[in-house]
């Protein structure tokens, strides 16, 4: 049976908290001392602060390609069997061989100059290279240039390709006319002629007017200049 005195807030009891604090402080001190001693005597492993990030991306597998389309390993062709140099047969050959052997180790002044200018030549040639880096190594800039010119010509004429709304819808589907033009070296219109009329005078006038209003054009590229001046180009107009 517990006395009421032991429940009273005024009754002084022995407190276990003070002993716990002392033990805890001693324990913490030991652990701290242990870490300090470890850090003084042990060397930490070096940490690379500039690691290259490793990137991984998830991709969906494409359709399986035909084996013959897969890149093949280039097989190194077998080295050609070394042929022994033919023995000099004549006196001239012998002299030539000797001369070559003499020049090979040490280069003459002329060769040095040639090499120097050759380097400049190379540099200048590099600067002249045109086209897309993934373009044909044989070069296709002339084709591209021509293609670009036709596209520009077409766009410029189309800008002025205004046709009267009075032409009935039923007729528009069949309207087609061809205009032959010749273009000078600076892009000026040398000749415009209705080569194949549509049969609708309004449409025919509109296509000729479109060409006249669109001129002068850009100067043609070198590859097209002569042809555009002599034989020209035909513009095939369709209403729709």
């Amino acid at each position: 049976m517990q006395s009421t005195a032991s429940q009273s807030l005024f009754f002084h009891r022995r407190d276990p908290f003070g002993r716990f604090v002392v033990i805890s402080l001693i324990g913490h001190g030991v652990v701290l001392a242990g870490f300090t001693a470890f850090s003084l005597f042990a060397t930490a492993p070096a940490i690379d602060l500039d690691p290259k990030p490793i990137k991984a991306s998830l991709v969906r597998l494409g359709v399986k390609r035909d084996d013959k389309l897969l890149p093949r390993k280039d097989e190194v062709p077998p080295p050609p069997a070394e042929k022994p140099a033919p023995a000099p047969t004549t006196r001239q050959d012998l002299m030539h061989a000797l001369d070559k052997a003499k020049r090979t180790p040490s280069e003459s002044k002329d060769d040095t100059r040639k090499q120097l200018f050759g380097a400049f030549n190379k540099m200048s040639k590099t600067a002249q290279v045109e086209g897309a880096p993934d373009g044909s190594p044989d070069g296709d800039s002339a084709v591209q240039e021509g293609e670009r010119y036709w596209a520009e010509l077409r766009a410029q004429v189309h800008r002025y390709y205004d046709v009267s709304q009075t032409i009935p819808e039923s007729e528009r589907m069949h309207l087609r006319a061809e205009v032959a033009i010749k273009i000078g070296s600076s892009g000026q219109l040398l000749k415009v002629e209705l080569a194949k009329p549509s049969g609708n005078s309004l449409f025919d006038q509109a296509v000729v007017a479109a060409v006249k209003k669109a001129s002068p054009f850009a100067p043609p590229p070198d590859t097209l200049r002569a042809n555009l001046q002599s034989s020209g180009v035909a513009l095939d107009f369709r209403a729709l």
């Binding site: 021509g146 036709w150 006038q205 180009v233």
Partner: protein, 423 residues
């Protein structure tokens, strides 16, 4: 791109390269209409009317860009023959075609000689001569405009046709019959509430709905004559529409306890037959297809008012509008392709739309200009007359079928509503 490749391929074969250019920009043709040359001072007033009507007709088509007369000065020496015209001057002001008219008095009539020239070539394309009494100067202008329209489009014009409409004045709403442009209007009814007219095949008579007996009935009348009742049965008969051949009349009629149904009768109202059978749903506003074999109408059988089409005997009814919840007043184009109708859009404004009968594609024709209702196609299907309150009161407007050109019709006092375009 294909064209360019074709051109390149041809170039490599050392032939003339060909570049294909398609998709022309279609735009209204710049047209100069020179002021008419008046040969008799006595014809001046008639010529002014003729000139005004001709200009209005041509501007309403939407296919011409009429050059402002302020941009060119009339050369008094210039006649109407090619040899007397300085075409370079017309070309300078941007004209592609030129209309020249000369008007003279001949035996009490006014005689108009009209020429159309291609400005670039100076070629005379069209030559028309017509004469009419001076009081019909506007009708003469419509005939000339029709000739010009037909020359350019190879289609008949609609400028000699008529419109009928209801016009309010002094507490009454009367039916009027006018030229297509609202001019030369004649009052058909006298007093009471009259609306929803439909023009007869002769272009000079009107069937309409009138409340003169206390309930809506359908009457037939010519200006200056007495009305003839053609549908007086039931509680409510409205929205008469003549078939394209003028022999039959479709209308909406409510009888007994039933909702309004579509009926088809002979043009005089005899031999009437009901062709819809939805007693609990309303069917109204019939409009004939150009071949007279089908009818477009409004029904709320699907829950909301929508446009339906069916055979002229009531067979094969099918719904053709599925957007919006309030579509009404259909009018079938005489070209057959479109049905124009009034719809209440999402902002509760009434606007005009057109649905393609074959594809079901809906095109908006009016927007942001008040309320626009009651469309009616011109006999050639190229223009639409409708009522709009964009300027305050209800008035009539005319527009091209794509809604690009919209012009108000001349107006006098009162409000104009329920227009109908007929022969």
């Amino acid at each position: 791109m294909t064209a360019v490749l074709a051109a390149l391929a041809a170039a490599t074969l050392s032939q003339v390269p060909v570049i294909e250019i398609s998709n022309a920009n279609f735009r209204p043709m710049p047209l100069a209409v020179a002021p008419p040359i008046v040969q008799d001072p006595g014809a001046k007033a008639a010529v002014a009317e003729l000139d005004e009507s001709l200009m209005f007709d041509l501007s309403a088509t939407g296919i011409f860009q009429l050059l402002d007369r302020k941009s060119f000065l009339a050369d008094t020496k210039e006649g109407i023959t090619a040899s007397s015209i300085n075409f370079a001057r017309w070309s300078d002001v941007g004209a592609e075609s030129l209309v020249k008219t000369q008007v003279a008095l001949a035996d009490g009539n006014i005689r108009a000689d009209l020429r159309v020239f291609t400005v670039a070539t100076g070629k005379e394309d069209l030559k028309v001569s017509q004469e009419m009494p001076p009081k019909d100067a506007r009708r003469l202008a419509h005939a000339l405009a029709d000739a010009i329209f037909k020359f350019f489009t190879h289609e008949p014009g609609s400028f000699e046709s008529h419109i009928a409409y209801s016009r309010s004045a002094g507490g009454n709403k009367d039916i009027w019959l006018a030229d297509w442009d609202g001019r030369r209007a004649m009052q058909v009814t006298e007093g009471g509430l009259n609306l929803l007219p439909a023009i007869g095949r002769d272009g000079a008579s009107v069937a309409y709905t009138s409340y003169r007996s206390g309930k809506p009935d359908i009457y037939f009348q010519r200006p200056g004559s007495k009305p003839a009742s053609i549908v007086k049965a039931g509680q409510m008969a409205t929205g008469a529409a003549f078939s394209p051949d003028g022999r039959r009349l479709a209308y909406s009629l409510a009888t007994g306890d039933n909702s309004a149904q579509i009926w088809v009768a002979k043009a005089d109202g005899s031999d009437a037959k009901v062709i819809t059978n939805t007693p609990f749903f309303i069917n109204s506003s019939p409009s004939w297809s150009p071949d007279g074999k089908q009818l477009a109408f409004v029904s709320n059988r699907g829950g909301t008012p929508q446009i339906y089409i069916m055979g002229a005997d009531g067979s094969n009814a099918r719904r053709i509008t599925f957007q919006g919840n309030y579509n009404q007043t259909p009018d079938w184009s005489p070209r057959g392709d479109l049905i124009a109708f009034t719809a209440r859009d999402e902002r509760a404004a009434f606007d005009l739309f057109a649905v393609n009968v074959d594809t079901g594609k809906v095109t908006r024709l009016t927007q942001d200009q008040g309320n626009n209702e009651e469309p009616s196609f011109a006999p050639n299907g190229r223009l639409i007359v409708f009522q709009s309150d964009r300027a305050g009161a209800w008035h009539l407007y005319v527009m091209t079928t794509d809604g690009t050109t919209q012009l108000p019709l001349p107006e006098e006092k009162g409000e104009y509503s329920t227009p109908s375009w007929g022969p």
